[in-house]
């Protein structure tokens, strides 16, 4: 038997034929077959027992309970059943070996017969008959396979429906599926990249969405003082083109709207003009009079000093007016 190199997994080249392991021996094949049959019998027996128990109204053993029971030593009927399966397993293993031995012995014993010419002719005829049967089978095989497929196509959905009716998918997913691991395996970035956000937004009725939001509550929760404290108002003001804003203002329209006459009348009513005029005149008069008084007093002093000097007096007030007279 030729053995071809196995292509590495990370290449795209698919070999035409991949050589497997050497075929197992007949004995191993038979033993494995019996083992599988025995396992199937065991599983089906357990399932049947559980189903029967449920039909009787019992809760039936839970999986973890069953596992605990399997690992712990049993007693009573389960012990007998286990023992029986043990005997069956041993018997099967022994039977397989016996059968293998018998087949090989038969081959040895019958070898003279099988190598004789008449037997070979008979076998050849038998072989040709079998070939014709095989070729007919090959011809009819597609039609039969098609019929079987059609039957399965009808049958499988019904079976699946029936099975799904019995299975609580939610429960199964909750118990068997580790959603965290599933989500961890998903490349969410790529998923989001594939989403056409614009189309999603087009489908959303934003006005209805906004109506559902209790804006008063939201605003009540916002600390506006904190937000305003974070705003750099000077930078904001620097960015504003005040000249442009002023250019947009229609000052004339504003002035036209003002009732200037009424405003002026109000201002005049508020002002006590006579009092203001009186005060200003009073202060003016006071300043003027003060100036005249100071000037005249200085002049008085100057003349007095001059006269004192001319009359060679030492100073005023030393002699009374009477003395001078």
């Amino acid at each position: 038997m030729e053995q071809q190199p196995v292509a590495p997994d990370n290449t795209n080249v698919v070999p035409l034929r991949v050589a497997g392991e050497f075929p197992p021996s007949l004995e191993e094949l038979v033993e494995q077959g019996f083992r599988i049959a025995l396992g199937l019998v065991t599983l089906s027996t357990e399932a049947l027992t559980e189903a029967v128990a449920r039909t009787l109204g019992g809760p039936g053993p839970r999986p973890e309970q069953a596992r605990a029971e399997a690992s712990s030593p049993s007693a009573g009927l389960p012990l007998l059943a286990g023992a029986a399966f043990g005997v069956a397993a041993g018997t099967i293993r022994w039977s397989a070996r016996t059968a293998t031995t018998l087949v090989r012995t038969g081959e040895l014993v019958l070898s003279p017969v099988t190598t004789s010419a008449p037997f070979r002719d008979a076998m050849r005829r038998l072989g040709s008959g079998l070939d014709s049967l095989d070729s007919r089978w090959r011809e009819e095989r597609p039609r039969e396979e098609e019929a079987a497929a059609a039957f399965l196509r009808t049958l499988v959905p019904e079976v699946v429906d029936a099975v799904l009716d019995q299975v609580d998918i939610d429960e199964v997913v909750a118990q068997r599926v580790d959603l965290d691991r599933v989500v961890a395996r998903v490349d969410l970035d790529e998923v989001v990249a594939r989403v056409d956000i614009d189309r999603v937004i087009e489908r959303v009725d934003l006005s209805e969405l906004v109506e559902r939001i209790p804006l008063d509550d939201v605003v009540a929760r916002i600390d506006l003082d904190d937000i305003v404290a974070r705003v750099d108002l000077e930078r904001v003001v620097d960015r504003i083109d005040v000249d442009a804003v002023a250019a947009k203002l229609d000052v004339e329209a504003v002035v036209r709207r003002l009732d200037l006459v009424a405003i002026a009348r109000e201002v005049v009513d508020e002002l006590d003009l006579p009092e203001i005029i009186r005060e200003s005149m009073g202060s003016m008069t006071t300043e003027t009079v003060g100036g005249i008084r100071v000037q005249s007093m200085n002049a008085d002093r100057a003349i007095s000093r001059l006269v004192d000097r001319v009359l060679q007096r030492r100073g005023p007030g030393e002699t009374g007016p009477e003395d001078q007279a």
Partner: protein, 148 residues
């Protein structure tokens, strides 16, 4: 300087203002007489033509009364109020009305006597010497006590 004797310049200015007040009063009287005459005889109205002597006499009388009333009451006329002066007695008291009349008469009859205060060591005019009065600075008006 409050309460000290005032010099010739202040007193002269004050008297000049008083004189102007009297002249203005004379003018006012003239126009008042003319107005009354017009109302009484509008068709025969002519402007009054008083003689200079009449006007001078009236002016002197007015000035005498004006000064006497002012000095006898508060010690101040309008001119002295503007200049911040006050006429007081020798001890700083207010002048009696009689002394005020006498001082006023002396001042009106002999106005040149004012200039004696230039040479007077106590800034006294002739009238001050006779009546024993004086003129003081009184910018913050405080009425002196009444004459005893």
């Amino acid at each position: 300087m409050q309460g000290s004797r005032a010099g010739i310049v202040s007193r002269f200015l004050a008297d000049a203002i008083d004189l102007a007040v009297v002249v203005a009063t004379l003018v006012g009287i003239y126009f008042a007489v003319a107005g009354v005459r017009f109302l009484l005889h509008p068709r025969r109205f002519t402007w009054p033509e008083p003689s200079g002597l009449d006007l001078a006499a009236l002016g002197w009388v007015l000035l005498f009364a004006y000064l006497a009333i002012g000095w006898g009451n508060t010690g101040r006329t309008f001119g002295k109020t503007v200049l911040g002066l006050r006429v007081v007695g020798g001890a700083g008291e207010r002048l009696s009305f009689l002394r005020a009349l006498l001082r006023s008469l002396l001042c009106v009859a002999f106005p040149i006597g004012l200039f004696w205060c230039v040479v007077s060591a106590k800034d006294a005019s002739i009238a001050d010497l006779i009546v024993r009065s004086g003129v003081v600075y009184d910018w913050e008006p405080r009425l002196p006590a009444a004459a005893p």
